[in-house]
């Protein structure tokens, strides 16, 4: 009998606190591992060695980096809008924790089964724009502001095809619950029914997380890092953290929607889930170290003139086929 955190703890507040602790622990470990992985992948694709010094295969390197970041002075520039400036890293991070609590990791590893988990995920993921804009506006820096504006434009542009792609899956599954959607894919994952939606979703997700080739908000050469230019020490670390946590979120969502979630032979469900998530993350890193950055007009054109029409067509065809069947 599947039980969720509320059943185990009895008290919903206690369950929430426990869930947050578990999620934060997982996310910190995950971010450290992913930064290591990114460095290793980039190094190998450029025929370098990557981190090798600390720990086996340099695994502990990012932990030392984080300790260094924690020890750094937190500089608050003058003339910043203090409230926005200080709240931006938190605003970035809160929706991430909220989204993570919605994912079913396996049949039994669920914090709570919401009927409309998918809507919540999409709603919370839109909230991270707020953090970016607070950072960009609050920093009182033209680079930050430009980076934030670009990021928001990009997020709006790519949220449309993302949601349209998700809608096609919802039509097939006839449910908005992530748990139900994953359960529906027991024999065949939806990527076989909805290959176009899967591709559109993954491209849009890459853009949503501001990853290359869609990393225009962070364009080092023109915007000096974009919206987090003025942040130092662990405040910058939080943005970094958020970026990698966002990667996990979109990849987990893609796993649940298209790759059949925890379903797989032999291995336990959680292991299958994590394997799929990290395989997708590897593909994202692979993208980053292969493709050059898009120009901003190309980026918007790609979304509005290609992805959106394709996603709409896909949705219409899906609806038609489902009606006829």
């Amino acid at each position: 009998m599947p039980r969720d955190f509320v059943d185990i703890f009895g008290n919903p507040w206690l369950a929430a606190a426990a869930a947050i602790a578990v999620i934060m622990g997982f996310l910190s470990l995950n971010a450290l591992m992913l930064i290591w992985m990114e460095r290793k992948v980039s190094a190998r694709m450029q025929r370098r060695m990557g981190p090798t010094e600390r720990g086996p295969f340099g695994l502990l390197q990012t932990m030392f980096d984080m300790i260094k970041l924690l020890g750094k002075e937190l500089i608050t520039p003058t003339h910043v809008s203090r409230k926005l400036y200080l709240s931006a890293p938190v605003l970035m991070f809160v929706p991430i924790v909220a989204i993570c609590s919605l994912f079913p990791l396996s049949e039994n590893w669920v914090f709570h089964k919401y009927d409309i988990a998918l809507v919540l995920v999409l709603a919370f993921s839109s909230m991270s724009i707020l953090g970016i804009f607070a950072a960009g506006w609050g920093s009182n820096n033209k680079y930050s502001l430009l980076g934030a504006i670009r990021s928001i434009l990009q997020n709006i542009a790519y949220e449309v095809p993302l949601i349209l792609a998700v809608l096609a899956v919802v039509l097939v599954a006839r449910s908005l619950s992530l748990y139900e959607i994953a359960m529906e894919q027991s024999p065949i994952p939806y990527i076989l029914f909805q290959p176009l939606a899967a591709v559109i979703f993954f491209i849009a997700a890459t853009a949503e997380t501001n990853r290359a080739p869609f990393d225009i908000p962070e364009a080092e050469s023109e915007l000096i890092g974009g919206f987090h230019t003025e942040y130092s020490g662990m405040r910058f670390g939080m943005f970094f953290f958020a970026e990698y946590s966002n990667m996990v979120i979109v990849c987990a969502l893609a796993t649940i929607l298209f790759l059949g979630g925890w379903h797989g032979p032999v291995l336990p469900g959680v292991v299958w889930f994590l394997i799929k998530v990290y395989a997708l993350i590897f593909i994202m890193m692979w993208f980053r170290w292969t493709f050059p950055r898009l120009r901003f007009d190309q980026l918007l054109k790609f979304s509005w003139l290609l992805l959106v029409p394709l996603a709409v067509a896909n949705l219409l065809v899906t609806a038609l086929v489902l009606k006829l069947l």
Binding site: V41, R44, R47, M49, T290, F291, L305, L306
Partner: protein, 198 residues
Amino acid sequence: MQSLLDIPRGARSLLKGMGVTIRHFFRKPVTVEYPRKRAPVAKAHRNAIVLIEKDDIGSHNCIACLQCEKICPSACISITGSRPDGIAFKRPDKFDVDFALCSDCGLCLDVCPTDTLGYSEVYDAAGYSRADSKFDLLEAWRDKEGEALGTLRERERKKKEEREAKRKAAEEAKAKAAAKEKAEGKEDDKTGNGTAAS
């Protein structure tokens, strides 16, 4: 319409690019962990010059002929040499190179009659002043110089002995031939003597 036709081509090129990166992903890195391991030096590398060990001597074989000093366009080599006792060639007493002036043209290597000049494999030499770029090429060989001199003298002595023995043999042969001729008492043709002597 054109942009629609570009989609499959663009997608293919993206996949091709990904193929390139993944291929390199599984290959061995070409870099090394530098301070601990060093990249191998290329065969055609050029660097500061050094004196190379010649196997048969146990040291360098510089004869202080000064050809490298003369041909050097940057005048960065300065050599003085003297002839030790019992050796036919000179040996250098001083072989200084100012690498700050050197342009790695390699003329000194080309001109060296004993091929004892070569390029150093230390590619990361660094210093704090101009004086640090002045290298004394004999420094590495100083403690082997005595041994090398011994070997050279020995060789010289052997050569001399050989020469001596040869000369003696030739003289004996000549005497023999003369005696033979005398005994036979035939014609005293000079060409006959000559062939016998040689």
